[in-house]
């Protein structure tokens, strides 16, 4: 690849200070995305997906600490910016986010329009007229009528709120859009509608998307690249075709096999056991206690990401055996 | 959450530990008081002026003498039932009781009083005289009288002053003052009348006049001897005891109020009273409120609507004005105060409990349990009550100081139960008799401090229990 990636993240590490000590919520995550490309971060709850998103926006909680990491947007190192400069220059203008739970994302006492227009007024110093214009444009992107601007959040249905939140994220025409479980609270038909719209937006606006979900099937709906996360680390990452069709890491394989499908007669399988507690991580590969293919080495040495023949990167000793 | 877990949370915080310690002290003192003082202490002793007649009035606590520059006379009581000397005067017996006092020339007693009790005579009433012998060899007769003789139709032996001693306030007695005037004229050639000497009896007895116009007296230090002589007509006549009080300027550990009541006793009696008011009220408020809240929230329908409407109105009535009115009209009785506080207190809790029950109901526990075949009672009291129990317990602790403070406020307005002394009442009597303006701080500060400490104890416990109510805090700790 010759062109500079839109967003390039290397060795991101975030830890939380708790009673049980320093917990590595994000432990050496690296990825990059191009314009018009979507990256899916997939994993069970507690895998650190949402922490990655918060780190990208520098919104980690009080007890969080950025241990290391580099983040370049079109080649510019964003972590070199001061907090205030980051807020003024990056948040929402370059990187916007749609959070899990649209209802909780909206301020109940402010009109939806006010909340959509706010970034325009603050970052662009737009006049009220301009702001309304831009907000209408954003709403039209998600097929919402302009009347929504005058409504309060509690007057909208779940699907409308979700769309309004997406419109709010798009109002400054950011380059990168982070979507954190944007459809998990919605009915299946509404979910499908919104996914269709997101696909449209990705193409129309040439957005770089980071799509976070626990549902690997949903990730396949939009993602060009898929990263499977487990206990703060990347288990496997690669082109959607490689990860979905020929998963290399046993965890990715199990995650795929656990999906109940209707196009195949195959029964879904389950992954035995539960994800580890970050306070007491197993030695060696973090997945080895649940891994059906684990062998001695897995319990002592932590595998790094290794290129696999399918074109993906996998953190599994099996890949080394093969090569 | 189990009881043990609650205790662990409570003892895990500084405020919880302090609260538990304070509570232990409060309970200990209360139990000791209940054991030592009679339960009718209020009507039998506290409000009986005779009980406190020998005490100095509005005297500061004894330990104030420890303050530098604070000269005070200590309170002296001489009490005897055995005469020091018996001399035969014809057929009669002269019995002499004598008390010695070393006077350092400092502060004078605030008053002198003499008491005689349990006199029994066969025919002729005994004669009594009280005399003081000064270090300078002079003597003053302080009192002289004859016990009241037989009444018409009364049969011997004649008993006198058994129920209540004959008590003479020497400082204010006209006879004593006249005798003092004679003494001054005789010994120092200073002419005066009893009226002029009013309030100066102690100065005359314990000093030497410096001028003819009674302006100044030099204190006369040295040993004084007070002699009480009783002339009994027949040898079988008995005298139970004589008592001479030289009232000090300080008294006991907590001082006295304007009627001479020992504030220490009143304050001590306030402990069990305050604790009982607080705990009984909060216990019943919590019990009724919780029960009604659970019933209302769980049963729903008309029951719910009824309880809800009632609670909505009842809990919004401002308590103090209504409490004032009801106690004024229905009578100043402590149990009534407690009952009214319970009546107006539970609806507030019922509303809160109901909302908690609704929240629990909105989860699936109730449905799931119903689908097991569990009865309503089981769901209400095994599942719902258990879940809200920690909160209810914390509410009970939280409500306790409110009850104590409400009673104190009511007492302060003069609506306390006269038969049961409370801290609020002690404050009220102090306030009403202008103790604030006269600077009798020992009368005003201690009851207030005790009220605040007692209320504070429960506030501290509530603070310590906060993680029980607010699980978010529990996790954050």
């Amino acid at each position: 690849m010759t062109s500079t990636p839109l967003l390039d993240v290397t060795d991101l590490r975030l830890s939380y200070a708790t009673e049980a000590g320093e917990l590595p919520a994000v432990d050496g995550i690296s990825f990059s995305i191009q314009e018009g490309e979507a990256l899916g971060l997939v994993g069970e709850s507690g895998a650190g997906k949402s922490s990655v998103a918060l780190t990208l926006l520098r919104l980690w909680p009080r007890n969080g600490r950025l241990v290391s990491g580099q983040m370049k947007l079109s080649g510019n190192n964003l972590f070199a910016l001061s907090d205030d400069a980051f807020r003024r220059q990056v948040r929402w203008q370059q990187i916007a986010m749609v959070f899990q739970g649209a209802s909780e994302s909206l301020n109940p006492v402010l009109r939806v329009g006010t909340q959509i227009m706010e970034p325009l007024r603050v970052h662009r110093g737009a006049s009220k007229q301009e702001a309304i214009q831009e907000a209408r444009r954003a709403l039209s992107l998600v097929y919402l009528p302009p009347e929504i601007l005058d409504r309060y959040p509690h007057e909208l249905s779940g699907g409308m709120k979700q769309r309004a939140v997406i419109a709010m994220a798009l109002v400054l025409q950011p380059k990168v859009l982070i979507l954190d479980e944007p459809t998990s609270a919605l009915d299946v038909t509404t979910q499908a509608q919104i996914m269709d719209q997101l696909k449209d937006l990705k193409e129309q606006l040439n957005l770089g998307i980071i799509f976070i979900t626990h549902d690997i099937a949903l990730a396949s709906d939009i993602c060009d690249t898929i990263g499977v996360m487990y206990a703060g680390k990347m288990a496997e990452m690669g082109p959607a075709e490689a990860v979905l069709n020929t998963p290399q890491h046993p965890y990715a394989q199990l995650l795929l096999a656990s999906v109940a499908r209707i196009q195949q007669e195959e029964q879904p399988v389950s992954i035995p056991g539960v994800p580890p507690n970050l306070a007491s991580l197993p030695s060696g590969c973090r997945f080895h206690p649940r891994c059906p293919k684990a062998f001695d080495r897995c319990s002592t040495e932590l595998p790094n990401l290794i290129a696999s023949p399918t074109g993906s990167l996998g953190a599994c000793w099996l890949l080394e055996e093969k090569s | 959450m189990s009881g043990r877990e609650i205790l662990r949370v409570l003892l895990g915080s500084w405020s919880g530990r302090t609260g538990v310690l304070f509570l232990a002290v409060l309970v200990f003192v209360s139990l000791a008081v209940v054991i030592v003082l009679p339960l009718n202490f209020g009507s039998q002793r506290w409000n009986n002026p005779a009980e406190w007649a020998d005490n100095p009035k509005a005297a500061a606590p004894g330990w104030t003498t420890l303050w530098p520059g604070n000269d005070a006379a200590s309170h002296r009581i001489f009490d005897s039932s055995i005469p020091r000397e018996i001399t035969q005067v014809g057929p009669s017996q002269q019995r002499t009781y004598a008390f010695d006092l070393d006077y350092d020339g400092g502060a004078l007693p605030t008053f002198m009083s003499f008491a005689l009790s349990d006199v029994r005579f066969a025919s002729q009433p005994p004669q009594i005289s009280v005399e003081v012998l000064r270090p300078d060899g002079r003597s003053i007769q302080l009192y002289r009288d004859v016990v009241r003789g037989p009444r018409p139709g009364e049969q011997p032996p004649y008993a006198r002053h058994f129920d209540e001693p004959l008590r003479i306030n020497l400082s204010g007695s006209r006879e004593t003052l006249e005798s003092a005037a004679r003494f001054l004229g005789r010994e120092f050639d200073v002419q005066s009348t009893a009226k002029e000497l009013a309030g100066k009896a102690e100065q005359v007895v314990f000093g030497t006049p410096t001028s003819a116009n009674l302006d100044g007296f030099t204190p006369l230090a040295g040993r004084y001897r007070f002699e009480v002589q009783v002339l009994a007509a027949s040898p079988g006549d008995t005298i139970g005891g004589v008592k001479l009080v030289l009232a000090g300027t300080t008294f006991g550990f907590m001082g006295t109020d304007a009627t001479g009541r020992d504030l220490a006793l009143g304050l001590l009696f306030g402990f069990p009273v305050a604790l009982t008011i607080g705990l009984v009220t909060s216990l019943l408020v919590t019990t009724i409120g919780t029960f009604m809240g659970i019933v209302s929230g769980f049963l729903g329908g008309k029951t719910d609507l009824g309880i809800q409407r009632f609670s909505d109105i009842w809990s919004n009535i401002p308590l103090l004005p209504v409490l004032i009115f009801l106690i004024f009209v229905l009578g100043q009785r402590l149990w009534l105060v407690v009952v009214i506080m319970i009546l107006f207190g539970w609806p507030g809790l019922a509303i809160v409990v109901r909302s908690m029950v609704l929240q629990i109901r909105s989860g699936q526990l109730v449905e799931a349990t119903r689908a097991l075949g569990a009865s309503r009672l089981r769901i209400m009291f095994r599942h719902i009550l258990f879940q809200i129990a920690p909160f209810v317990f914390a509410q009970m602790i939280f409500f306790t100081p409110a009850a104590i403070l409400a009673e104190a406020g009511l007492s302060f307005l003069g609506l306390g139960d006269p038969s049961i002394p409370t801290w609020g009442q002690i404050l009220e009597s102090g306030f009403r008799t202008s103790a604030v303006y006269l600077g009798y701080w020992w009368w005003i500060l201690p009851p207030g401090i005790l009220i605040v400490i007692t209320a504070m104890t429960f506030v501290l416990l509530t603070l310590g229990l906060e993680p029980v109510i607010n699980p978010r805090l529990r996790r954050a700790r």
Partner: protein, 337 residues
Amino acid sequence: MSPLLEIEGVSMEFRARKGLFTSVPVRALDNVSLHLNKGETVAIVGESGSGKTTLGRVCLRLLAPTGGTARFDGEDIGRAGSRNTRAFYHRVQGIFQDPFSSLDPNMTVGQIVEEPLIIHKEGTSTERKAAVRQALEEVRLLPAEDFISRFPHRLSGGQRQRVAIARALVLQPELVIADEPVSMVDASNRAEILYLLRGLQERHGTAFLYITHDIATAYHFSQRIAVMYLGRIVETGPTHEVVNNPLHPYTQALLKAVPEPDPANRFRRRATAKGEPPSPAAPPPGCHFHPRCPHAFERCRIDVPSLLEVRPAHSAACHLWPEANPSALLPETPPAS
């Protein structure tokens, strides 16, 4: 043989408070009929507001229907009288959606699983303890001893749901109403719980009414499916039939909406039903689905379609399937892979 559970024309109307003195009727169930045989699993599939949960509550005796009857083993569930309550719940049990709020946080796992036995006065204390241990082993909370003294908040969502299953099965009921038992469990754990249920069904011959919004899990777990939309059953039939040859446009939309892990997905649109489900308080006239239906025509706006058998044992309530002519216009049938 009469069915174990027989629902006949059940309707359920609530009154939703609107103003101070006004309320509007909300039809949660509208003339629903369904039956379930011994040892069979029927799935009720629908989105929020479809009435599927209300139906489950009616079957669990938690709600009395405002119309029609629901019978369990020939006896009217709603009018069985409180004397028979316990007997009813001995044979019918429920599993609920939320494993976090359906377990009493103050009870240990052992107490939770033992509670139905205590309520139904079953066995001595030792016998009950043994039954609890056995139930925990059956749901594979192993070793059972470890779990008995634990509190639910120390368990994962999947583990809690298994406790709920153990509690429902400790009485060995004949029918279990499972209302979204896996929707709040992490995707990777769903299969395991469904297997567990199926294993129990095979061993004990328990019948299941499986209520879900996810037609994919219903596909793997049930023998028959009933699809509900706004209080009505719009399609019912053998699972395989319904999924592979859906008759009702809503069922088709539901099937289209199911995401499957396929890298080609990102290049196509799902084109599922447009709009959002209307509020049950103000349902559209005629066929409730007509505003969102790609095939709607005039009649759909006026007439309520009745549930008719289009293929053997496979019925749909849709005007596209006129009574007389089963082979008329067949809508395109997904899945289009």
